[in-house]
């Protein structure tokens, strides 16, 4: 599954291997920049940089806008410069992943510094492309269009230069862990996305909520917490310090214990209903954990990031069920002698049998959320997301691979690379 980090490496590789070709005319660059500038605008717009978005992002937006808009007269019959097109496609892939993962605004630890670091990486690549494009057009003749695009590229290069001065090792961001959230992706990543969708759909509709679903969701959260704890304890040196690993593992142990308690409904409590979608997704989670559990901290951060909102929704629903006395209780729990004849009845106001389940869900959510925050703030992002140089020869990807719309092709051996500007 393509991650932002992987696409970023492709973007940087492509930006640093730009070469002049016969197709690099002024018109093709004008057309090419329309796509690249738009994709960059969208990617930057998704980043939770903090502050007021329209103010914080104004500088970059202002220099990208004229390039994205293009010339006053429409470009007819002009093909965009191929290398700018591939950059735009890769940037578009990053933009789509960011938009999908940050739909709800992202978690607190993902905003601010981490988003700024990713912004720096994206704009650094754009800076290199702007300078290359500027240099390519410098000796071409096409008066008005050339002059204006050269000025726009100058502005862009000036605004983005500070980002390009930051060494790559200092701008590794935990946002690079984001991946395409596809239910059909392989491994626990994809299975978790499908499970989270099924669980959210169940929890989001009153008539679909059942005791069975509440137990299954809580149990699955316990299982995921337990498996994540195992991975954190086994994290390779450099991903987490022993102290951080111990602290995160403690939170995950609490999460597992609490969610297991939340899944252990008393035998005399129930809420009828069925959840066939969730049953299949729950089974897939168990199978994926046994067959192919993720090993890296980054992957687990992604998995837990998908399920934490479900944990919060579970807590909210559990609270509503208990406070509203919507659960059903067996008469034998109300009156051991005469109650059996009553069978199942709505829990009366005087009964609070479900309260421990709410407490357990609350403790489970808090521990899981805390573990997620710690994974985001204490994990060494450079170790978990960019363990190797960004576009080192052994990791560089072959551009223009067949059926390779976002640029993730096969690895290629390559000589030492350097920007060709």
């Amino acid at each position: 599954m393509a991650t932002v980090g992987e696409l970023l490496r492709v973007l940087e590789y492509r930006a640093h291997t730009l070469t002049r070709t016969p197709e690099d005319t002024v018109a093709s660059h004008v057309a090419g920049w329309m796509g690249l500038a738009k994709a960059t605008q969208h990617a930057i717009a998704s980043l939770p940089l903090g502050g007021r978005s329209e103010v914080v992002k104004a500088g970059v937006r202002n220099v990208l806008a004229p390039l994205a808009h293009g010339p006053r007269d429409p470009l007819v019959g002009i093909d965009p410069a191929p290398q700018l097109t591939t950059l735009a496609q890769t940037m578009g892939g990053i933009s789509d992943i960011l938009a999908d993962n940050l739909r709800a605004g992202g978690r607190a630890e993902q905003a601010g510094t981490e988003a700024l670091k990713l912004e720096a990486s994206l704009l650094s690549a754009v800076h290199v492309a702007a300078r290359w494009s500027h240099g390519t057009m410098a000796d071409q003749k096409l008066p008005t269009t050339r002059v204006s695009i050269m000025a726009f590229l100058d502005d862009l290069a000036v605004v983005t230069e500070p980002y390009a001065l930051i060494p790559p090792g200092q701008r590794s961001s935990i946002l690079e862990d984001f991946a395409v959230r596809a239910p059909n992706a392989s491994g626990l990543d994809g299975v978790t996305v499908a499970w989270a969708e099924a669980a959210a759909a169940t929890l989001g509709e009153r008539y679909r909520v059942s005791g069975w679903a509440m137990q299954a969701i809580a149990g699955d959260l316990a299982l995921l917490s337990l498996a994540a704890r195992k991975a954190v304890l086994a994290a390779v040196s450099g991903e987490l310090s022993p102290q951080n690993a111990a602290a995160i593992s403690e939170r995950l142990a609490t999460s597992a214990r609490s969610w297991r308690a939340a899944a252990t409904w008393p035998r005399h409590l129930r809420l009828g209903g069925r959840a066939s979608d969730l049953r299949a997704a729950s089974r897939d989670i168990r199978e994926a954990i046994v067959a192919n559990p993720p090993q890296g901290v980054g992957e687990w951060r992604r998995v837990l990031g998908s399920v934490t909102p479900v944990a919060l929704a579970h807590l909210a629903v559990m609270r509503r069920l208990v406070r509203g006395h919507e659960l059903w209780i067996h008469g034998s729990a109300l009156d051991p002698e005469l109650g059996v004849a009553l069978g199942w009845v709505r829990e009366p106001q005087r009964s609070h049998e479900g309260a421990p389940l709410v407490k357990a869900a609350q403790a489970g959510y808090q521990a899981l959320d805390c573990a997620m925050t710690m994974l985001g703030t204490t994990a060494d992002a450079s170790a978990t997301t960019t363990a190797r140089p960004r576009w080192a020869p052994e990791t560089a990807r072959q551009p223009n691979h067949p059926n390779d719309w976002i640029g993730l092709g096969a690895p290629v051996p390559s000589s030492r690379l350097s920007p060709r500007i």
Binding site: Q215, G219, A263, T264, W265, R267, R270, R274
Partner: protein, 91 residues
């Protein structure tokens, strides 16, 4: 729906409670499998009975199986395999 199915479902629920509630690491995984079995048996939203607890989850499931064998027409075929596999796992 007969009383047998409701009673069997009650024993499966007991097994879920026993597995989830114990402190063993494998209890959680097995508890989730028992919960899956509960979903198979409760496909028609059967109101379960609340029978007395058996000494352990395996015994609860064996009682459930014995009860279901009296009403095979009411048992979803998929439940047999899941029930048997769980009994074997629990020894």
């Amino acid at each position: 729906m007969t009383n047998q199915l409701a009673l069997a479902l009650g024993h499966v629920r007991n097994a879920v409670w026993q597995l989830m509630g114990n402190d063993r690491d494998d209890g959680l995984f097995l508890g989730l499998e028992a919960l899956d079995l509960e979903a198979l048996l409760g496909f028609d939203d059967v109101d379960p009975e609340v029978p007395s607890l058996e000494p352990n989850p395996a015994a609860s499931l064996v009682v459930a199986r014995d009860l279901l064998e009296d009403v095979p027409d009411e048992v979803p075929p998929a439940a047999w395999a899941a029930l048997q596999a769980l009994i074997v796992k629990l020894g």
